[in-house]
């Protein structure tokens, strides 16, 4: 047995983090009231936005402390989508935030840079061809990896540009509907992550299979990780993601502080 102080594996990890060699990258956006949540038709149920009410701030309400009450939907800001979120994943085992085995919250990440394409076309869709070309250069996606789609969309700090809504819905990049089954069957990914407000493209509601990323990923007990930031700081292969959602009973997801470990 080794422990974190005797030169064992964990000791090496901590040494890398504190002494150099391993960078910790924050992939999380700040939760604040103007963080947009996904827009649903007005006659449907709506996700609560992030809201904060001060309990006290070293004042008559509590002279010693500053703290807040929070409210928000499970899918607010950078968040983790559990399989139970979608109808296709509703009956799977270990499909909710409280029942997913915790070792699944640490996984390798592959990052494919689509920032130029997304800049040219907000409706850009990531295809299998593009991933295979990427694999030729960076190697095959290892099993149980996250596939993260870098678009630099998170650099859009104006909520209007970030949501990019029009009368026919949102216009934000995402995966092509044919890509998802291949990612699951041929590459066995643990999930799909991206920078936009949801893992599906803005126009995905109009696809032949609406919301294919949600439908197939969650239907196969895989996860989603939308609204990430700082993907430009990750290598194409080799980063390790730490993604534990809050342990909410039968939670369909939760805001998550997503961290990446990167060997420098």
């Amino acid at each position: 047995m080794s422990d974190a102080t005797d030169g064992g594996l964990l000791s090496q990890l901590l040494g890398g983090i504190t002494g150099g060699g391993i960078r910790v990258v924050d992939l999380t956006m700040t939760l604040q009231p103007d963080v947009p949540t996904i827009v649903m038709p007005p006659e449907f149920g709506q996700s609560w936005p992030f809201r904060m009410e001060e309990i006290s701030k070293y004042d008559h309400r509590g002279p010693f402390c500053y703290w807040n009450n929070l409210s928000c939907g499970e899918h607010t800001g950078t968040h983790f989508d559990a399989p139970i979120h979608w109808v296709s994943g509703k009956d799977l085992p270990e499909n909710a935030t409280d029942t997913i085995p915790v070792e699944k919250f640490l996984a390798h990440a592959c990052v494919i840079d689509c920032s130029a394409q997304a800049d040219a076309d907000p409706d850009f869709l990531l295809t299998q061809d593009m991933i295979e070309t990427w694999e030729d250069e960076h190697g095959k996606i290892p099993a149980r990896s996250w596939l993260l789609m870098r678009t630099d969309w998170s650099l859009k700090t104006d909520p209007v540009a970030y949501m990019n809504m029009a009368a026919d819905g949102a216009h934000t990049p995402g995966p092509h509907e044919d890509l998802i089954p291949w990612l699951i069957e041929d590459r066995d990914v643990i999930g799909f992550g991206c920078e936009a407000v949801g893992t599906d493209a803005g126009q995905a509601g109009h696809f032949n299979m609406p919301y294919p990323c949600h439908y197939h990923m969650h239907g196969n007990n895989r996860f989603g990780l939308p609204a990430l930031t700082n993907l430009d700081a990750l290598p194409p292969q080799g980063a390790v993601l730490i993604t534990p959602p809050l342990k909410i009973r039968q939670g369909s997801g939760s805001p998550t502080r997503v961290l990446a470990l990167v060997e420098s």
């Binding site: 009231p33 103007d34 947009p36 827009v39 006659e43 149920g45 709506q46 609560w48 936005p49 809201r51 904060m52 009410e53 001060e54 909520p159 209007v160 970030y162 949501m163 990019n164 809504m165 029009a166 009368a167």
Partner: protein, 413 residues
């Protein structure tokens, strides 16, 4: 002729703001009957059911026949000015700040002679028209104006103390994303508002009304989300010292009741926007506006809540919405009492069904935005406190006064 209103000046940053003193406020229970009439813009006096005598001031019994059945009836507001005088000195703080002040005695065609506040362009012997108006303390007073209005009549300084005229005042419209907001912005502009500020939430959701407002001259848009305490506080920090008329037109209607549509999220959103939203606005804009209630000719004067007529009686087709409106109405009464010491009037506009996407299945009559905006602005000019807008709201008010149980059982409006 009435002296024209001087144009508003930029505030002197080192001058002490005039404190909002109150006009004398003691009224008997009977005299509060006048307040009820003034609040809705009626000119009604006690009229003896036995002998027909029109009585003023209000008393417990008839001054002529001692009868005690004294219903309030609308009476002819016309009369002749018997005597006029100008008050040059007052020990009362409110009038001391505002002398000279004109007063007169009017012989009413309906019988009584009354002491009334007197417009600048009335002369002894003139025919005059009386109105009951609320003063800065919220109590009814008699006011006399020429039978035929002269130029600049609305500029009369005494009348301006009794009204909430938008002319040369700065207006905040809280929710810019409705058709009513556009109609209000256009209406206030036509009524001579000095500046119009318009709030808007969730900018990523487009709104044709907001885009039309954005293109108007003299209108400035500000981010404002009444469900976000920080957002409301931040805007109050920017605009609190400028807003003289605040229009809370927050609106979030979703059909459904408690049994047929149990949905905590929808009900909570309604409460968050209508009730807590008003609370957030009150706690942030209220203190600043109350402090400027006597800040010259253009001081803060009005807080308008656009409420549903169903705030007064629940329509189960819009059951939880009605309940949230009732909560807002109750809070508005609290706000009215808290704003009164500043002389800022809280106006509740009860609106019937609007002709919008959330009333698709409601049969006519439905209200267009121009009608609602026009009535609100007119009520401000005339100094009313409660107004029912549209046939449905008017009928609800009448039937509630007549038999509240009847309308509770039969509401199908």
């Amino acid at each position: 002729m009435t002296t024209p209103l001087p144009p508003p000046k930029k505030k002197d940053p080192v001058a002490r703001t005039r404190m909002p003193a109150q006009p004398p406020g003691n009224r008997s229970r009977e005299a509060q009957g006048l307040t009820a009439m003034a609040a809705v813009g009626r000119f009604a006096l006690q009229t003896c059911a036995d002998c027909g005598q029109v009585q003023y001031p209000p008393r417990q019994i008839c001054g002529q026949c001692l009868g005690d059945d004294l219903p309030w009836r609308d009476v002819d507001p016309s009369g002749s000015l018997i005597a006029e005088t100008k008050l040059h000195h007052a020990n009362d703080l409110f009038f001391r700040d505002r002398v000279p002040w004109r007063l007169g005695v009017v012989g009413m065609d309906a019988g009584p002679s009354v002491v009334a506040h007197l417009a600048e362009d009335c002369r002894q012997g003139d025919r005059v028209k009386l109105s009951l108006n609320l003063d800065r303390g919220g109590h009814a007073v008699m006011n006399a104006r020429p039978e035929t209005p002269g130029p600049n009549q609305m500029d009369d300084m005494q009348l301006r103390e009794l009204s909430m005229d938008p002319k040369d005042r700065r207006v905040l419209i809280v929710n810019g994303k409705t058709e009513l907001a556009l109609a209000l912005a256009q209406g206030f502009k036509a009524a001579g508002a000095r500046e119009i500020f318009v709030g808007h939430a969730e900018p990523w959701k487009a709104s044709a009304s907001l885009e039309a407002i954005r293109g108007m001259a003299g209108v400035t848009l500000f981010p404002l989300d009444v469900t976000d305490t920080d957002s409301v506080g931040e805007l109050a920090a920017v605009l609190g010292g400028k807003v003289e008329i605040l229009i809370n037109n927050s609106y979030h209607l979703r059909p459904g009741g408690a049994v047929d549509r149990m949905d905590m999220n929808v009900s909570r959103e309604e409460m968050d926007i209508h009730y807590f939203g008003l609370l957030r606005l009150a706690g942030t804009f209220g203190p600043a506006m109350r402090g400027r209630g006597a800040d010259g000719e253009h001081g803060a004067c009005a807080w308008v809540n656009v409420l549903s007529a169903y705030a007064q009686v629940n329509n189960p087709a819009f059951g939880t919405y009605s309940a949230s409106q009732a909560a807002a109405r109750s809070l508005a009464q609290c706000l009215r009492a808290e704003m009164a010491p500043g002389g800022v009037r809280v106006v509740n506009a009860y609106v019937g069904p609007l002709d919008d996407e959330w009333h698709q299945m409601v049969p006519p009559p439905k209200l267009g935005p121009d009608t609602v905006a026009g009535r609100i602005i007119k009520a401000l000019q005339q100094g009313h406190e409660d107004l029912a807008i549209g046939a449905v709201a008017e009928e609800i008010a009448e039937r509630l006064a007549e038999n509240p149980k009847e309308i509770e059982r039969e509401i199908k409006l």
